[in-house]
């Protein structure tokens, strides 16, 4: 050991004296902040791309069989002859919209970008515990994303079996499904490496004095999220490997005996079980819902505490609720499978666990609502998005309850009601929280703030139109319109009464697209021309604001290792006469 010490120091010095070149600084960077920015840019581009796919689909739903204006001729005869979308192309767009939004957009932005950039700063760490692994996570994600995109260009097009890729349909689908599986395996590997890194960092690199009950709620949310990714993703990876075997080696893991397609018996030995895919898929995909929502709650909690200028109400309950929620999310998966011939005993079990898991979500949401009580609220742009998150997530969550009850689910399963439900959770819920986070931490990253007028335009139009898109879906779903209809329900008599809503929803979706233009302008304009602001622009208490603005880009966030003396939300502490007490301000300095 004694011999080790001098050697270790020699290593330190050489590391610091060699300034990294362009590639090491901006492309293959091992710095968590650069990687966080890389994740953010990539994920935002994917979000825009995935949203564009949906805007194209909405044309077909609103005006079935009519030629897509302006851009229809660019899709080629294989996808849209004369600009009229073919059913196969519609299915590709649907499957890829779901996949891209969830796995390439929201999760990388919520965990990869915000988690990477903010979490180490909030715990006072010099970097992530494994910087090389962090770099690998990003690049494997990047390759997985490119793989997914490339599938649009191969013969037969992209995966078209829905983002859930249910077997046996997915097993006999065109080659795009194989590409989808390879892409997913990359994305899963990236998430696994990332979550190992996040958990290790939170446990090992917390600053002195930063005990678990002093962690900002955002860090807690990232910790539980990482555990969900770590332990729920491998079963989907296993399922992906099995499906790859089915497709490439001709095995029958998901292929039942005696399957006949278009009058032709399939050349599979049979003996498999298509429901096995559903079990393994939902074993991941239900925890995945909480992977999508927990970081969003974390961001909202930070912003609400900061903008009400008072501590979060019930911090401890929120933390316990988050941990409990994470655990429970592993035992609810079969509520996605009530219609697979499950008996009443097992359905009752999964109904019960589903009702139980709604309790911690409600605790968190209630605590956030109560935190507003008596606060002197600053209606900043991030706060507007954070405030909108609360009722929007509320609608998303509450509309989920009927889906968790088997009798109601029998009617609502696979209708537009389901689409409305989970989009309320993820779009005006999570995405609004992510926008809030972008506006909130933008000054930390760039040293400039985003323009408030453009921010308000972005917020109010997005808020109005996003409800216009999703609220009518509940009506259509209750009327029984299936979520996967290529013509929006035109050929079904029971859908006729609610068909007219399609045009309204589509117009709202396109206007929602337009409403993002102020954000895009604001984002780029503010990087170079935004108003310059101080290091702690929002007068916040958590550690990231005590670091310099756009902290140096090589393993050095703080000039000296910070020390923490108090909890994360000491706003308006009684008797001190101050508005806020940062976590790292020594007691005697009052």
């Amino acid at each position: 050991m004694s011999e080790a010490a001098p050697g270790a120091h020699a290593g330190v010095h050489t590391d610091h004296h060699a300034p990294p070149g362009f590639w090491r600084t901006y492309v293959f960077s091992q710095d968590h902040k650069t990687i966080g920015i890389q994740y953010a840019i990539t994920a935002l581009l994917f979000l825009l791309f995935g949203f564009t796919l949906m805007m194209i689909m909405r044309w077909q739903l609103a005006y079935p069989g009519q030629s897509i204006p302006f851009i229809g001729k660019f899709f080629g005869d294989a996808n849209a002859p004369d600009g009229v979308m073919l059913p196969e192309f519609y299915n590709q767009l649907g499957a890829m919209h779901g996949t891209i939004m969830v796995f390439l957009g929201v999760v990388p932005l919520a965990v990869g970008a915000f988690g990477n950039y903010v979490m180490p700063l909030q715990i006072g760490a010099p970097d992530m515990a494994f910087p090389k692994l962090n770099m690998m996570s990003y690049w494997i994600y990047f390759v997985g994303g490119l793989t997914m995109l490339s599938s649009f260009l191969i013969p037969g097009g992209a995966a078209a079996s829905g983002w859930t890729s249910y077997a046996p349909l997915s097993v006999i689908a065109t080659a795009g499904q194989t590409v989808w599986l390879f892409g997913m395996i990359c994305l899963i590997t990236s998430s696994l490496l990332g979550s190992v890194n996040f958990i290790t960092t939170i446990f090992q690199l917390r600053a002195k004095g930063l005990s678990f009950m002093r962690l900002p709620f955002f860090v807690w949310a990232q910790l539980v999220t990482s555990f969900l990714l770590l332990l729920a993703f491998p079963p989907l990876e296993a399922a992906g490997v099995l499906q790859l075997m089915d497709r490439l080696a001709g095995t029958s893991f998901f292929m039942p005996s005696g399957l006949v397609v278009s009058g032709q018996p399939l050349a599979y030995s049979g003996g498999g079980n298509p429901l096995l895919w559903q079990h393994l898929f939902w074993f991941l995909a239900h925890p995945e819902v909480y992977v999508l929502i927990l970081p969003a709650m974390g961001i909202v909690a930070e912003i609400i505490a900061n903008n009400t200028r008072k501590p979060l109400w019930g911090y401890r309950s929120m933390v316990s609720a988050t941990v409990f929620l994470g655990f429970m999310s592993f035992v609810v998966w079969a509520h996605h499978m009530f219609l697979t011939g499950m008996g009443t005993v097992i359905s009752s079990f999964f109904q019960a666990t589903t009702m139980i898991i709604s309790i911690p979500s409600i605790i968190i949401l209630t605590a956030l609502f109560l935190s507003l009580w008596g606060g002197s609220i600053r209606f900043t742009t991030p706060m507007l998005f954070a405030l909108a998150f609360l009722p929007m997530f509320g609608i998303g969550g509450l509309t989920g309850l009927p889906l968790g009850l088997a009798p109601a689910d029998i009617h609502l399963h696979d209708t537009y009601y389901v689409i409305g439900h989970f989009h309320y959770v993820v779009a005006p819920g999570t995405l609004f929280a992510l926008f809030a986070g972008l506006y909130y931490w933008f000054p930390k990253v760039t040293g400039r703030k985003m323009n408030d007028t453009l921010g308000r335009i972005h917020f109010w139009f997005s808020f109005a139109f996003i409800n216009g898109v999703f609220m009518p879906m509940f009506i259509q779903g209750l009327a029984g319109v299936s979520r996967r209809l290529y013509d929006g329900g035109a050929m079904y008599s029971h859908a006729q009464g609610v068909m007219h809503l399609n045009v309204f929803m589509s117009v709202c979706a396109w206007c929602l697209g337009l409403a993002q233009i102020p954000f895009i302008i604001n984002f780029f304009w503010s990087i170079w021309k935004g108003k310059k602001v101080s290091d702690n622009y929002w007068d916040a208490t958590t550690l990231e604001w005590s670091a310099a603005t756009s902290p140096p880009m090589a393993h050095g966030n703080f000039a000296t290792p910070p020390e923490v003396y108090r909890g994360p939300y000491e706003y308006s502490p009684p008797g001190s006469g101050r508005d806020f007490l940062p976590q790292n301000k020594p007691e005697e300095a009052r």
Binding site: L231, F330, G343, T344, V345, I346, F349
Partner: protein, 99 residues
């Protein structure tokens, strides 16, 4: 492991050899039993018990789980619980389905 002193490592080495012998013996036993072609239920129980015993020997001594830190135990306990949930998955599939 705390930086183990040479003496304690030497003690470890003796343990490793013992565990190695035990693992070999258990391998031999489980192969021998399999030639008897027991009833399926009995065969499964015996084979899995021996495998579990071998696995715990590897985990406890080669992977030093017998003297690990609380944090590692906590992480692994969580994993084991969720692993058991995975093992119950087939039960949740077949129970009450009338198959």
């Amino acid at each position: 492991m705390e930086t183990a002193s040479a003496e304690s490592v030497r003690k470890h080495v003796r343990v490793y050899v013992t565990v190695f012998v035990a693992l070999m013996a258990l391998t031999l036993i489980t192969v021998t039993i399999s030639t008897l072609h027991l009833q399926p239920a009995a065969a499964i129980i015996v084979a899995l018990c021996i495998a579990a015993l071998k696995a715990s020997l590897v985990a406890a001594y080669f992977m030093h789980l017998i003297s690990e830190k609380k944090l590692i135990y906590a992480a692994l306990t969580l994993t084991v619980v969720l692993f058991l949930v995975l093992m119950v998955l087939p039960v949740s599939h077949f129970a009450d389905r009338g198959l």
